[in-house]
């Protein structure tokens, strides 16, 4: 019991405290790739601390949804961090079908953020919300189908058991289904976490924003919570990607004693993914909004093909 609680606390701390560093490293790497020296990787922590100390300005036209959303976002991400296999194969809240709960926790945050974007009544907020919902509606089924392809291969719908099975039998991954599901999941990760080519996290141009447009009205500690939650979302998606498709290292570890090793393995995997993401983001341009559905439809097709490959191959 105590061991389970220790693992749960460690997992929340690793995701909650590590997520801003992940974003910071990504920004520094991107700056280096375009020839800038760039901010320090610890910059997001300084930003968050400053925001927490600042005054909150709230528009008089907003309702309770606007004030509740930052807390909903942070809470859903913290709960989600208990479901994702972060550094041990068996996360504290593992149960068969947890992937469905995970997807709907992400979607709950998206839903509230979209409402909050509409709440202040500013033109850009509404635009951001409509785009975010359009992207989420197209991205959500792909995640489920891609994970189901893996679940069918591993013959279980429990995320933890999928990770365990794949790390025990690496040959199971030597299948076209694995590659197709990976491609599908990677594209959807970009869309869900607001990265290029779907959304540009560094943009200042309101007309091209998706995620950023919804949070334009937030300030002070609310903004800090929203930024923290979106960093955690990126961290969780990358962790999920790393552990589902490259489970080696995480799968065999159990119990609190294995936590340090597990964190190291996770950090190694995330560094590789962050480098890949930074290279991708410096070399591709943002897609025109009307072409985003094509990209997401493509990723859905990959996910469906992956399920078919499981059945046929």
């Amino acid at each position: 019991m105590i061991a389970a609680i220790a693992v749960a606390v460690a997992q929340v701390i690793v995701v909650g405290a590590g997520a801003p560093l992940l974003v910071g490293v990504l920004r520094t790497l991107k700056a280096r790739l375009v020839g800038r020296r760039g901010p320090s990787p610890w910059q997001p922590y300084a930003d968050l601390r400053k925001l927490l100390a600042k005054e909150v300005v709230v528009s008089t036209t907003t309702s309770w949804i606007f004030r509740a959303t930052p807390y909903v976002l942070a809470a859903t991400m913290l709960v989600a961090s208990l479901i994702v296999p972060v550094f041990l194969a068996r996360p504290p809240l593992a149960f068969p079908g947890d992937v469905i709960l995970l997807m709907y926790l992400f979607l709950l945050g998206t839903f509230f953020l979209a409402l909050a974007g509409l709440d202040a009544g500013s033109a850009f907020g509404g635009m951001g919300s409509s785009r975010e919902v359009a992207v989420a509606a197209l991205a959500e089924p792909t995640i489920i189908v891609a994970v189901f392809a893996l679940a069918m291969r591993a013959e279980t719908i429990d995320l933890a058991r999928v990770v365990e099975r794949f790390s025990r039998e690496p040959l199971l991954a030597a299948n076209p289904a694995h590659l197709l599901a990976f491609a599908a999941f990677f594209i959807v990760m970009l869309a869900e976490t607001g990265r290029l080519p779907v959304d540009n996290p560094a943009t200042h141009l309101e007309l091209t924003m998706i995620h950023e447009a919804m949070v334009l009205e937030y300030s002070g500690r609310y903004l800090a919570l929203v930024e923290w939650a979106s960093a955690m979302k990126l961290c969780l998606f990358m962790t999920l990607l790393a552990n589902l498709f490259f489970p080696w290292g995480a799968g065999g570890l159990t119990g609190p004693a294995a936590i340090p090793l597990g964190v190291l393995v996770l950090a190694g995997k995330l560094v590789l993914l962050v480098i890949a993401l930074a290279v991708l983001e410096t070399t591709v341009a943002k897609l025109r909004l009307f072409r985003v559905p094509e990209l997401l439809a493509g990723s859905f097709a990959l996910a469906i093909l992956s399920v078919m490959a499981v059945v046929l191959v």
Binding site: G35, R36, P39, L216, Y218
Partner: protein, 169 residues
């Protein structure tokens, strides 16, 4: 994509090292230290164009490029006044922009800095006395510092930011 990546790797970092632009770098280092004290190494800037002829904007956007690279000092341009700690206001304030400027100032959470940029921002500059101009930035909202110049160079902008932060304490 590969060609661009190759270019990026071959070019390396073009942000000027301390020895070569000593003056700018010293200003930058002091700026970073001042920001650390006042805001905890993070200053988010919202640039407001209150009717500027855009020469200041070109100099300001130079700050974000690889050469001057403002972000290494913990400064960052943001898209909304609600995210900002500092308003960088350019241009003479035209009559049509006076009200939006006032609202922008009200939308910015405390503690906040206001910096008027350029000769136009100081007192209207070239456009002073025009029937379309309400005056300098200080005629509309309280200003903490002025960065003179027509337009001020990026190095002068960095120095002006430093001055504003120091004077605030």
């Amino acid at each position: 994509m590969l060609r661009q990546l190759w270019t990026a790797l071959r070019t390396g970092i073009v942000t000027e090292p301390p020895a070569r632009v000593s003056d700018l770098e010293r200003v930058g280092e002091r700026l970073a230290a001042e920001i650390t004290r006042a805001f905890g190494r993070s200053l988010h800037i919202r640039q407001v164009d209150a009717g500027s002829p855009n020469c200041c904007e070109i100099e300001i956007s130079g700050l974000t490029g690889p050469h001057y690279d403002l972000e290494r000092f913990g400064l960052h341009f943001v898209a909304s006044p609600r995210h900002a700690d500092c308003l960088l206001v350019t241009g003479p304030v035209t009559r049509n922009m006076a009200e939006p400027l006032r609202r922008t100032w009200e939308a910015t959470p405390d503690p906040k800095l206001v910096i008027a940029v350029g000769d136009c921002g100081r007192d209207g500059g070239l456009f002073r006395g025009s029937y379309a101009v309400a005056g300098g930035v200080a005629d509309v909202i309280p200003v903490d510092a002025v960065i003179p110049g027509c337009p001020p160079s990026p190095a002068a902008l960095l120095a002006g930011l430093l001055d504003a932060i120091r004077r605030r304490r």
